[in-house]
């Protein structure tokens, strides 16, 4: 690759030249970094590689996942692989899906200034402030649904002037919603009872002992439930 094609970036203030159109993660590796922290799934779902960056001609702080964000010339970047965040313990069997339970554990959500900085810091573009406000109102369903795509990267936490740990509120709401507010699957419950009563023991045992020849015949004869 010719030199003129290389792009100048600054990793924690230090200049490196890397080929264009790399992700931040691959640019860091190309520059000689071997990740221990700050690298996980490399596919945008694990939240390990939260990164903040700025450009010399703008006051703005930008955020992104290193594995998903492409480098741009003159990017000044650093990763935030860990950010301290408190988490309240609870017993999922005895907790109730009530706003009091959330406030008891995370009273600081009442300090939310509605500044929306959390949303601006979210690499998933989630309505972070909205779900915190929903949790504060006791609208656990809305908080659960709005936070569903949270990858727990912690960028919201790092930017919040009210020192809220948004993602822990989000996962509490999702578990409360899924466990207590959505009806249990009836057919699942029935099937579990049948299995525990041994209803399928014979059927499964028959297949376990069946010859490959018989299995192949049955396999090719299966009827397929319509899509």
């Amino acid at each position: 690759m010719e030199k003129k094609e290389m792009v100048k970036i600054y990793i924690m203030g230090k200049e490196y030249k890397v080929p264009p159109s790399l992700t931040i993660m691959k640019a860091l590796e190309y520059s000689g970094y071997k990740f221990i922290r700050g690298c996980g799934c490399r596919g945008g779902v694990c939240g390990a590689c939260a990164t903040v960056y700025r450009f010399p001609d703008s006051y703005k702080i930008n955020v992104g996942l290193a594995c998903q964000t492409l480098i741009e010339p003159d990017m000044y970047l650093t990763q935030i692989p860990f950010y301290p965040a408190n988490r309240a313990s609870y017993d999922i069997e005895t907790i109730e899906p009530l706003v009091e339970e959330i406030l008891k554990r995370y009273p600081e959500i009442a300090r939310c200034l509605c500044c929306n900085t959390c949303k601006k810091a979210c690499p998933q573009d989630l309505e972070v402030m909205e779900y915190i406000q929903a949790a504060l109102r006791g609208d656990i369903e809305r908080a659960a649904k709005l936070s569903f795509e949270c990858i727990l990267c912690g960028l919201c936490v790092s930017r919040c002037p009210s020192e809220i740990v948004h993602y822990n509120v989000g996962i509490l709401c999702r578990r409360l919603f899924a466990k207590f507010m959505v009806p249990k699957a009836k057919d699942l419950k029935k099937r579990v009872e049948e299995i525990k009563a041994g209803k399928f023991d014979k059927e499964v045992e028959k297949y376990v002992k069946m010859s490959t020849k018989e299995l192949k015949e049955l396999y090719d004869k299966r009827d397929i439930e319509p899509v």
Partner: protein, 540 residues
């Protein structure tokens, strides 16, 4: 950045055939699926597993003589990386009932169930707790819990998908405990896709005869993983040590597994775990890049557990069978190798060649689907070339919008939609370009139905184990496997721990392994476990 102009022109051919293909789907007409025999022929001709010169026989150990990919042989036939003079077995840093190595899905399930049995549990994990392939699993988890379905049909589908090579006993456990696993997750507060009455939304996956794929959007694994991790944080009897991979198992003078030596990746110090029982749940080998393939796998998927288990005397099974997921991204270049969940095809998307024509039933088992794509690109020359000379076929996601209504992509595949929009491609309006990508280690350490191994007090669960899926795993059976066998391993390890008596700790097998290597005529400076892949100075 979006598609370059020449690709936009080719997309017009996909658009031209789409109305016809949509009409066929609506009439219930499918591209014919292959019989077991025809599928087998296709595999032998085009599946990477059958490519010559990519494997070799192991020269030492319990599975000496068995064929494994060269990349696996390279880490098995390698010197232990542990620096014995810095490991002090006299000083026990952690003394626990159950040691779980690996903080992914299987390990977390094992830890929770072991703790419920009253065990004191330590999870030692290489990266963060939850950094694992589990978090990347998108499409779903299988269980035969609907009226029209049964564990027997689940067994038959899975056996067929594995070309009748699966260990029937392990598979029997998997299908029978599947609904129990789903109920357990439901009770932990996993936000499954459900209708208003609470009935689980279920879809087909490749090779299923009934719709039994349960999901949580297209982040099913992430939702399961973050819930398991959250629950573990609620339980003080489970300690988690991060960035501390096990680099060698410890045995005792009776030949039982007795814990492990951990290596702090940041401080470079070793610590010693004494454990009555040990569960290996370290995942698979995607980051070994078998045959140079890109991978969907997590950064830490370097098959460390295989190496550890092998050195203390476990057998490996089905290690010559690698799973290539049919639909890995090949454009844009930054996303090469990333997974496009099979749920996309389950929801109605079809594959199409450069002429916009369908060439395979969209829901064949993965190895057959992959082989058909490879044939289309390499033999029939009907693939589409990217600007960086990768070749692939179209995955016509737009069909989902037409079949399920506008907005279906954003609703059902939010993570995928976002991932492509970052690069200016709207997958609700344009197809994706895909080619098979290294996805899953079908084989692994040989286990019994209790997740036990040939070494006393050592258990293996999840992708690190082999046999359940035979030569080819079906979609949705891995999240299931990690839950069912993770739980089993935790249960059995905790019960065993109650009566296990551990003798004098030893790492003598490490020296023996070195000698064994030399005696086998293997001269190498390779060291393992690998721990982390090396992309430094490269474009990984």
């Amino acid at each position: 950045m979006s598609y370059p102009n020449y690709m936009l022109d080719l997309i017009k051919k996909v658009e031209a055939t789409r109305p016809k293909r949509i009409a066929q789907v609506k009439k219930g007409e499918n591209f014919a699926s292959l019989s077991a025999e025809k599928g087998g022929e296709l595999l032998r001709k085009f599946h990477p597993d059958y490519k010559e010169g990519t494997k070799r026989k192991l020269q030492l150990g319990k599975s000496k003589g068995s064929l494994v990919p060269n990349e696996v042989a390279d880490i098995i036939e390698a010197n232990p990386c542990i620096d014995l003079k810095n490991v002090n077995l006299e000083k026990i840093d952690y003394d626990v009932d159950v040691l779980v190595i690996g903080g992914g899905g299987a390990g977390s399930c094992a830890a929770l169930v072991a703790q419920e049995q009253g065990a004191k549990v330590l999870i030692a994990t290489k990266l963060r707790h939850g950094d694992a392939n589990t978090i990347m699993a998108e499409g779903g988890i299988q269980a035969a819990d609907k009226n029209q379905d049964s564990p027997g049909l689940h067994f038959l589908d899975t056996m067929g998908g594995g070309h009748f090579s699966n260990d029937p006993e392990l598979l029997g456990v998997l299908v029978k405990e599947a609904p129990l696993a789903i109920e357990w997750l439901e009770n932990l507060g996993v936000m499954f896709d459900k209708d208003n009455e609470g009935t689980m939304s279920t879809l087909h996956g490749g090779g299923t005869s009934r719709k039994r794929m349960h999901s949580a959007g297209d982040m099913t694994g992430a939702e399961i993983m973050r819930t398991l991790r959250d629950e573990i944080k609620n339980r003080p009897d489970i300690e988690v040590v991060e960035f501390a991979p096990a680099v060698e198992l410890i045995v005792d003078d009776k030949g039982q597994c007795a814990g492990a030596a951990l290596y702090n990746l940041e401080t470079k110090q070793y610590s010693v775990v004494k454990a009555k029982t040990t569960v290996i749940a370290t995942g698979g080998f995607g980051r070994l890049h078998i045959q140079g393939f890109p991978t969907t796998n997590h950064y830490g998927a370097t098959a460390d557990g295989l190496v550890l288990a092998y050195r203390v005397g476990c057998s490996l099974t089905f290690m010559d069978a690698s799973q290539f997921h049919p639909t890995g991204v090949i454009y844009p270049e930054q996303n090469v190798g990333l997974l496009i969940t099979e749920k996309v095809r389950g929801a109605g998307a079809q594959l199409a060649n450069i002429d916009g024509e369908q060439f395979v039933y969209p829901l064949e088992p993965r190895d057959i689907e992959s082989s058909a794509i490879i044939r289309e690109c390499l033999e029939r020359k009907k693939g589409v070339k990217t600007p960086t000379d990768r070749i692939g076929v179209w995955l016509d996601s737009v069909m989902i919008e037409i079949l399920k209504g506008e907005g279906a992509i954003q609703r059902d595949f939010p993570a995928k939609y976002r991932q492509f929009m970052r690069h200016g491609i709207d997958i609700s309006k344009q197809p994706m370009l895909v080619f098979p990508t290294l996805h899953y280690q079908n084989g692994g350490v040989k286990i019994n139905a209790d997740a036990g191994t040939e070494v006393p007090n050592l258990y293996v669960a999840g992708e690190a184990s082999g046999g359940i899926h035979g030569r080819n795993r079906l979609m949705g059976n891995s999240l299931l496997d990690i839950t069912v066998f993770g739980r089993r391993a935790g249960q059995e390890a905790a019960i065993k721990a109650k009566q296990a008596k551990i003798g004098k700790l030893s790492l003598e097998h490490v020296g023996k392994y070195r000698t064994n290597l030399q005696n086998s005529g293997i001269k190498t400076d390779r060291i393992s476990p690998m721990l982390l892949p090396d992309y430094v100075g490269k474009i990984g």
